[in-house]
Symmetry: C2
Subunit: 210 residues, 2 copies
Amino acid sequence: MALPFKKRVLIVEDDQEIRNSFSLIVNSSQKFMVVNSYGNCEDAIENINKDKPEIILMDIELPGMNGIQGTKIIKEKSPHTDIIMVTVYEDSELVFEALKAGASGYITKSANYMELLSALDEIVKGGAPMSSRIARMVIDNFHVNPNSPLTKRETEILQLISEGKTYTQISEELFISKETAKTHIKNIYSKLQVNSKSEAIAKANLEKLI
Amino acid sequence: MALPFKKRVLIVEDDQEIRNSFSLIVNSSQKFMVVNSYGNCEDAIENINKDKPEIILMDIELPGMNGIQGTKIIKEKSPHTDIIMVTVYEDSELVFEALKAGASGYITKSANYMELLSALDEIVKGGAPMSSRIARMVIDNFHVNPNSPLTKRETEILQLISEGKTYTQISEELFISKETAKTHIKNIYSKLQVNSKSEAIAKANLEKLI
DNA sequence: CCGCTAATCACGCAAGAAGTGGTATTAAAT
DNA sequence: ATTTAATACCACTTCTTGCGTGATTAGCGG
């Protein structure tokens, strides 16, 4: 393997021991090299244009700015850097926040030698390394509730509401009168116990009705 | 391994050859057995309570009802059956539709012996087998656009709008006057080129602004 | 220091959209 | 035969939006 083309990896992790152990593992590979490591996001952000990492292993719990906030800022400054979160928690809120912030992978600190390197490989080949549990969490998040209280027509209309359509547009699109659209929407509101379009959308997303 | 505890696998696939080859592979494993295989969803749905599969390998392109529609119906009738889509396409629309319908995995027909069995293993241990590209596609879907045209405050307000809040609620929650909330919302509308809350939500989701 | 942007606050008025509360008919499904 | 889903209309109220205008304060970068 051609040495000059090793992928540049940056580590952001406040625990010195973990930092060292990860560095050793990454550097042991023919394909990767650690360009730098920091104990906080602020330093990493400051030096991002100098370090030019292609991949960052990012802790979430950090002194000062946390890893999720840091991920957002780094992705703004360096959009093509892939970030893998490395954390002890598999808490669903944190996972989704991290993914929204721009993370492309999510592994736990218990990752061993092989798991860490295969996560890096996975990133390089355009994938998204995740533990089984995270993968399932993410996929489950897409699932639409099959036990919706809404009828087919109501769901159809709720869908159009979520696309930002007005009463008039909905009625035109479905070839029904505006009054009928209103009736359906009234029924949707009463079933979902809401009283506005945006509340209906919020509830629909929350309960995965669309 | 205890034979009576083999996991029950059902195959829905219209190509006889693929059906046979998948059957052979699955049956070759100590951990899985093919309980039945069908060339269309209709037959699979009809016999679902008799076959009692724990896992279904489901094709998408099928004569009659397609695999996505079939997945929806099967998940209604048998919520605990895990469904893995097996298809030639990795088209993003189809993938997301399949996941919304209730699929827990997504592999391609080119999957070999090992890939197929490890997908089944992955499902059994509560994961979500996917190819690298699909995993990335799914994760990318979470990423929030870091180049939003909106200011921090406007994003904050857009967030509240998406939660179904009224002008009054927004102003109360942010300790600002109703008039100020209106001003911000007007600015949001002009930046997003929309003219209602629900359109703003739609655009925000589309462009991943929140 | 100056200029810009963001964030805040405020008023008014008209038109249209949305929401509330009824009633009612028809077809399909059970 | 009864219920559910889908359709439609009316009347009335309230909220939202469009358009315009103006002003203050804080913070940032040149």
